[in-house]
């Protein structure tokens, strides 16, 4: 029974996982990223447009990721350079992405999907699905075991430490945000490649859910992505629904869980100390 749900769990969790990893990089560097939703959406858009235009899913993937990074650059310029309110910027970017994509591509033709790899015992999934656990572990090592990660986290924790090393906080924050665009864009590409088309607003709140997973996972890659698998499982349950539980109830389960976690029943969740603060 549970085994049947594995394929759809993986498919639901993968885009969330990528966006959540992106969110972790951005938030660890001290910048709140509500724009994940828009970055995913424009990634999905870029994938479909690129695949349609160049006839290659690889080019589509590149363009989708490129669009995600470009949109994250807007977030970075606004929040880091201009000290704009991070939450509002994120919402503005989401509306911008929704508008641009709806305007340029009201409905799309069918496009091809990214290649699936057949693995023994596991089955056949898009290679992006296999990439997620790899990136999850890599991100953990990068953030917590290397000097590079220490500096990125310092940007989000204590500005004095970076200043003492005469490193620019802004540079690390740009890096964090651009990485979030890259990863969320990839998540968007996967989303579009699995359903083979683009519709307006197709991310349907997944960016916000990914952000919830970031917080759920205490801003750590391993637990953040695990939260995505949990959320993916909840969605898979909702899709498979055969116990007559209202689907909407299962649908809101991840959100309720997140609120419970925030309240601290499961463990304390502590954001990076300087998250959202721009004053130096």
């Amino acid at each position: 029974m549970i085994l049947e749900l594995i394929p759809s769990t993986l498919r639901m969790a993968t885009p969330l996982g990528f966006a959540a990893l992106g969110g972790i990089y951005s938030e660890r560097s001290g910048v709140i990223n509500l724009a994940l939703e828009g970055m995913m959406l424009i990634g999905a858009f870029g994938y479909v447009v690129g695949t349609q235009g160049f006839g290659s899913t690889w080019v589509g993937l590149l363009i989708g990721i490129g669009f995600g990074v470009a949109l994250s650059l807007v977030h970075a310029i606004a929040t880091v350079t201009f000290h704009a309110e991070q939450v509002v910027t994120g919402i503005g970017i989401n509306i911008l992405a929704l508008g641009i994509t709806e305007y340029l591509l009201p409905s799309s033709k069918q496009v091809g999907g990214l290649p699936h790899w057949q693995l023994p015992l596991i089955g056949s999934y898009s290679f992006i699905v296999y990439l997620l656990p790899v990136l999850m572990v890599a991100s953990h090592i990068l953030l917590f075991k290397t000097p590079w990660g220490l500096r990125l986290r310092a940007a989000g924790e204590s500005t004095e430490a970076l200043a003492a090393l005469s490193l620019s906080r802004a540079k690390w924050q740009y890096l964090g945000i651009l990485l979030s665009g890259l990863l969320a864009g990839t998540g968007g590409c996967f989303l579009a490649s699995e359903v083979h088309y683009f519709t307006k607003g197709m991310t349907a709140g997944r960016g916000y859910l990914a952000l919830a997973a970031v917080i759920f996972g205490n801003w750590r890659p391993l637990s953040g992505v695990s939260a995505c698998f949990l959320f993916g499982f909840a969605t898979a349950l909702e899709l498979a629904n055969r116990w007559n539980i209202p689907g909407q109830l299962l649908h809101s389960l991840p959100y309720i869980l997140t609120m419970v976690v925030l309240v601290g029943f499961v463990g304390t969740s502590r954001p990076p100390a300087s998250l959202g603060k721009m004053k130096s």
Partner: protein, 363 residues
């Protein structure tokens, strides 16, 4: 005060209040200008006549009473969500949950309007009260979680939005759906629960115009909100917690208590947007009726500098933009997405300008 004195006080006196006020008006106006310019550029790139586009913008909202009526009708829910966001913001809280709060409130209003059969002078206040209580409850939960556990209200209001969407969808498709209908909507509310349209009162307004008395409620809320924030003790506490939390607690104000009631109040005001929809326009609850009013409210509050009268002006501007978006879609064939993109850009410009001025003040 003669004109010369006023001029001197504006130009020379750096501490003058009117000078400060005028200066604070520049950034939003600049952002609106940039917004219109970039829209024109995009229209030009599309290979269409940008002048024609500007003509439609400037004339479509004001040509006659009918047009003005539509603009004010569009503005009504945005006044409420804008005020709701501003009430939170002035106290240092971000209420991103207006969207969910207005859905819950709209449903409460519709439920009372369907089930109670009372004369209008009782039923309408009942419906409004129910909506405000529902909105307040939905807002108070993140407020309480913030006050009691320090859980960030941004995340919790977003979560509450999704929970509201799911819950309302469930109620309107499984429990209260109009019998024999495929559309996810409730049956109509009683005649006596309906807020009258203004077409009956204003002589030049055509009967088809949807502008209704909820716009007057919106105007009343703006004034009440201004008086509340500026002249009452609670308004003072609210602003003090927003601007100097430590001072507030030293002065005997409990910031936690304030957080809870501010979020509740914000939710209640956001709920009035649902009232405007259910009692004033559609006379029933339709699933997903709001086209992002809760989120546009953030832009409205930002553009109105979190001042109630500024918010009224900003809401009318957005009401106009919504109308223009429809008109250019019909007349020039420019899809609505362009407007949405422009709106997003406007928000980003606004926060950037505001951020730069804040940066300047800090240094």
């Amino acid at each position: 005060m003669n004109i010369r004195k006023l001029f001197v006080s504006l130009v020379r006196d750096k501490t003058s209040q009117s000078r400060k006020f005028l200066l604070s008006c520049i950034p939003p106006l600049l952002a609106i200008l940039v917004f219109f310019l970039s829209c024109g550029i995009v229209v030009h790139i599309r290979g269409q006549d940008a002048l024609e586009f500007y003509k439609i913008i400037f004339f479509s909202g004001f040509a006659n009473f009918d047009e003005v009526g539509y603009v004010l009708f569009n503005a009504t829910p945005l006044v409420f969500t804008g005020l709701a966001v501003a009430i939170g913001y002035r106290s240092g809280l971000f209420n991103i949950g207006c969207e969910g709060q207005l859905y819950v409130a709209a449903f409460a209003a519709a439920w009372i309007g369907m089930h109670l059969n009372l004369p209008a002078f009782l039923l309408i206040p009942f419906c409004i009260a129910a909506a405000m209580i529902a909105g307040a409850a939905w807002g108070a939960v993140p407020g309480f979680l913030k006050a009691r556990y320090g859980a960030h209200e941004v995340i919790n209001t977003i979560m509450m939005n999704f929970i509201a969407f799911a819950l309302m969808n469930y109620l309107v498709t499984s429990v209260y759906q109009e019998p024999g209908q495929m559309i996810p909507q409730t049956p109509q509310i009683h005649e006596t629960a309906r807020i009258p349209r203004l077409a009956a009162l204003v002589p030049f307004l055509p009967q088809s115009n949807p502008l209704n008395a909820s716009f007057l409620i919106a105007c009343g809320s703006v004034v009440l909100c201004y008086i509340f924030l500026t002249y009452t003790r609670w308004g003072y506490e609210l602003r003090l917690v927003g601007s100097a939390r430590d001072v507030a607690s030293y002065g005997g104000i409990n910031p936690r208590t304030v957080t809870v009631w501010v979020m509740a109040l914000s939710g209640a005001v956001a709920g009035l947007a649902g009232v405007a929809e259910v009692l004033g326009y559609r006379y029933r609850y339709l699933d997903n009726f709001s086209s992002g009013w809760g989120f546009t409210g953030i832009a409205v509050a930002l553009l109105g500098r979190n001042n109630p009268f500024g918010i009224l002006a900003a809401a009318v501007l957005f009401g106009l933009l919504n109308k223009v978006a429809l008109d250019i879609d019909i007349l020039l064939g420019i899809p609505r997405g362009l407007f949405l993109a422009g709106q997003g850009m406007l928000i980003i410009w606004l926060v950037c300008i505001e951020g730069i001025s804040r940066k300047k003040n800090d240094s």
